[in-house]
Symmetry: C2
Amino acid sequence: MAKSKNNKSVKDKSAKSPAKKSSKRAASAGAEPGSGAAQPPMPKFKHVEKKKLSTGKGASAAEVGASLVSLFNAGKASEVERLWHHKNIESIEGDGTVHLGRKGISEKNAWWYSSFDTHSALAEGPYVGATGFAVHFTITISPKGTEDRMTMREVGMYTVNKGKIVREEFCALAS
Amino acid sequence: MAKSKNNKSVKDKSAKSPAKKSSKRAASAGAEPGSGAAQPPMPKFKHVEKKKLSTGKGASAAEVGASLVSLFNAGKASEVERLWHHKNIESIEGDGTVHLGRKGISEKNAWWYSSFDTHSALAEGPYVGATGFAVHFTITISPKGTEDRMTMREVGMYTVNKGKIVREEFCALAS
């Protein structure tokens, strides 16, 4: 939702009695994942798509994301690929390169592991959305044969469809 | 990129002399945004899309993202909407609701501001990718008329096209 503190442009006219109008489903949908607290029910919005988005059948975005974070932090990234990558996954790096499918990921991994030593790697999340999830990574590496340690902070944005990751895009913290 | 420490499944055979083969452009593309350090050049990958992705003409994802974070932290979220939202923006909440366009955002905002008091709101980032950027939000709110404070941690995933935000999806930290 991400609302800032002092938005002056918004009028407080809507949702005069949302509790009366909204269905049980809408009320339950009003609860933010991650907060245990009860929240006001949501009104029936007018300017929305008729159909809500979802990841379809199979493991949910929350399940896939939790597994990815757990496996990554246990040093088992290859298990993530085996369990959760769709065979035609698209993996998008910051320069716009789209690595295609399992072969594309293997090729990228081979370059990565032959080029860098990894000193520490931490995944935090998942942050769960309607079509996928995000994970925050903090990774310290050095190019092989050097002592030039650098810490990368990235967010991976993952799209899930029918229980598999079909797209991942990596976003690096701007300096 | 997000590689874990102990991936055993990857062989170190690739990229025998990437420096020799790769063009200047590929070498510069190998540098991760956010790290100042020099990095090994990238090889010519085989299993990639021919065309790299980009956000097209206009303000870059880095520029839009930096402006959003700065304006949000100054309490000027409405300025973000005015400057950067495409008129047909899609805004996707965790329950799958797709709020459509400026009207959809106004309607959602009106509900939000009439339902919650915001006690603090912090944006961190941007994390910049090829097709957009991500922002980490920490927001403490309470439903109006209560003292039930709750802190939400979210990642907003933003898609940029030709200098405008055309899609945003909010992902909440799983408990």
